[in-house]
């Protein structure tokens, strides 16, 4: 399954539908297409210059006026858990209950561990109203630091790594032994832990509207998630070094079947970052359109880019909405002189929805042409007059014939 741009798909379907529907001016059936697609997470790992990509929690749904409904869902695309539900025609349905399976990880040696991925899809067409729903999810993901240490070249003393971190945030110029202990304690555990949500795609048709909705739940990324130790105040802190929370995004398009007008809206994801209290750094928020760097210049450099949403209007009048999600680039390879390529790149919460169509054109029944005059109910006066004339003429002719005979 590939994600295609919703607008292009709708435009193509509409053009085909209109061609099949017949010429304008005559009675033409209604044509509509609605589609939605959501993606919870794209994960790209760059190891030794080679990129490995995984996509988790994907779904799409599509219905059209031919009473065709299709839904796809996958917890993880590579694992073969793709579910497809498809029906065509009224009063038909297909439902694939949620199924889960192990996630295929192509680069196991990096310590990437994932829980099971799940997918569910269903489609129904009842009374001429199609509905398609797809939902994909993966429970959680983690990357073990131990296997990334080599990649990160973290063989130098830890304080050499941490000092620029704290200098970067300008809060803790001196790295105390307690914090070093904290971070040392996690070096052999996880480096990154991400909890993921679902993506859901739904297209619903009722008597008045066609509504396409795509949602992509956000997630929580924990950088160095399990430090255990005491902070400079002597208090125990179990918070991760940084917790990045990505909210969900939603894109919705609504098509009015009566007026043929479309409307699209989106809610872009927001990001908040919470730091370990040890760092004494206030929380920060990253709003749509912004890019924020954390721990710049260190192996733990994290770049957060929050994309904005957009609505588009296609030439055929169909509308689409895209709520582009959040990109989080984690961990820089110290061996990389440019220090630009992230070892882990996460793209959260991408949702797009589109819908369009043309309402049915029903040629109005011709109004009966009313006669100019009120109905004629007075008979035809020339008929009795003609009868009288014919009678007189008959008598005259008869009289003439008799007169000629007598003479």
């Amino acid at each position: 399954m590939r994600f295609r741009r919703v607008g292009a798909a709708i435009g193509t379907c509409l053009c085909a539908g209109m061609l099949l529907a017949g010429t304008a001016g005559a009675d033409t059936p209604e044509v509509y297409v609605g589609s939605a697609a959501g993606k919870a997470l794209d994960l790209t790992m760059t190891l030794n210059g080679a990129a490995n990509s995984l996509t988790f929690g994907v779904s799409d749904a599509k219905v059209d006026s031919t009473l065709s409904a299709t839904a796809h869902a996958a917890g993880e695309l590579l694992s073969g858990t793709l579910q497809t539900a498809q029906v065509k025609g009224d009063n038909s349905s297909q439902a694939n209950p949620q199924t889960c399976g192990p996630v295929a990880v192509p680069a196991a040696d990096v310590g990437l561990s994932l829980n099971t991925a799940c997918a569910a899809s269903s489609v129904t067409v009842a009374n001429g109203l199609p509905v398609a729903t797809g939902q994909g999810s993966v429970a959680a993901l983690s990357v073990n630091m131990a296997s990334l240490v080599k990649t990160l070249q973290l063989t130098q003393p830890l304080n050499q790594v941490l000092t620029p971190i704290f200098q970067g945030i300008g809060q803790v110029p001196t790295v105390g032994q307690p914090l070093v202990d904290v971070l040392n304690s996690v070096l052999n555990t996880e480096t990154v832990n991400a909890s993921l949500g679902n993506s859901g795609s739904n297209v619903t048709v009722n008597g008045k509207t066609v509504t396409s909705t795509a949602t992509a739940a956000g997630g929580v990324i924990k950088l160095l998630p399990s430090p255990v130790g005491t902070n400079p105040n002597g208090l125990v802190s179990t918070d991760p070094l940084a917790t990045i929370t990505v909210s969900s995004s939603q894109a919705q398009s609504v098509y009015d079947r009566v007026t043929g007008k479309s409307n699209a809206t989106f809610n872009a994801a927001l990001v908040t970052v919470h730091f370990n209290p040890t760092l004494k750094v206030p929380d920060i928020s990253v709003t749509p359109g912004q890019t924020q760097s954390l721990f710049a210049g260190t192996p733990l450099q994290t770049d957060i880019t929050v994309a904005n949403g957009a609505t588009t209007t296609n030439p055929d009048g169909s509308m689409g909405a895209t709520a582009d999600g959040v990109r989080v680039d984690l961990l820089r390879d110290a061996a990389d002189a440019t220090n630009k390529s992230a070892l882990l790149s996460l793209k959260f919460a991408h949702a797009e929805a589109g819908v369009g169509g043309t309402p049915a054109v029903i040629k109005p029944l011709p109004q009966p042409q009313l006669p100019r005059d009120l109905p004629r109910t007075g008979g035809t006066p020339w008929i009795p007059m003609a009868g009288a004339g014919a009678l007189v003429l008959a008598l005259i002719v008869r009289r003439s014939a008799l007169w000629a005979k007598d003479r």
Binding site: R372, L374, R376, T377, G378, P384, G387, L391, L395
Partner: protein
């Protein structure tokens, strides 16, 4: 005349012509009587149709065709008691009276309009000029009956004055039209009546 006197075949031709003219005269003069007889037979069939369950069903589903029985109109003042058919085409009006199809069904809210012959075809509306305010008109439909009361004296309008049969939303009325003067179609005579009681919902 001398030609007729000397040619026998010419005299026979003139005799035949006179007979032909006589037959035509009888036919033309008898046409009104023929239409009355025709209307009488049609009315007999329409009465049977009006009482049939099929017509009742068609009436309720508003699927009446032009020429179908629609209602029975009774005007005691001038002795009218005929079945009105759906439609006001020349063919439909051979039944004597027809309902304007663009107006509401009898006893419904709005301006119900009925046209009737004033001469020929039973001439049911021959004497509607004698109606006056307070006279009653009863319509009996397959699903009920209602009574109208003439609201004003009959009045004459040009033949193309269709406003007299225009809708009167929210007001239940009855309009009767016929040709005026008798034997002519130059004008129309109109009788307006208002419903007594409550109209049937459309």
């Amino acid at each position: 005349m001398s030609y007729l006197r000397h040619h026998r075949w010419a005299r026979r031709g003139v005799s035949a012509l006179s007979v032909g003219l006589l037959v035509a005269a009888v036919g033309l003069l008898g046409y009104p009587f023929y239409t009355n007889l025709y209307q009488s037979r049609v009315q007999s069939n329409l009465r049977h149709q009006l009482a049939s369950p099929e017509l009742r069903q068609a009436y309720q589903h508003r699927s009446l065709r032009v020429g179908d029985s629609l209602t029975r109109i009774k005007i005691p003042k001038i002795g009218v008691d005929v079945v009105v058919v759906e439609g006001t085409s020349a063919s439909a009006l051979k039944a004597g009276a027809g309902h304007y199809p663009e107006t509401p069904l009898p006893c419904e809210s709005g301006n119900v309009a009925i046209a009737g012959h004033r001469t020929t075809y039973g001439k049911p509306f021959a004497n509607i000029d004698r109606l006056g305010p307070g006279d009653l008109i009863v319509l009996e439909t397959p699903v009920g009956a209602c009574t109208y009361e003439v609201s004003r004296d009959p009045f004459v309008v040009p033949a193309d004055e269709r406003s007299v049969v225009a809708s009167t939303p929210g007001h239940a009325s009855l309009t009767l039209t016929s040709c005026h003067p008798k034997g002519s179609a130059s004008h129309r005579i109109v009788v307006s009546a208002d419903m007594k009681g409550t109209a049937v919902s459309a």
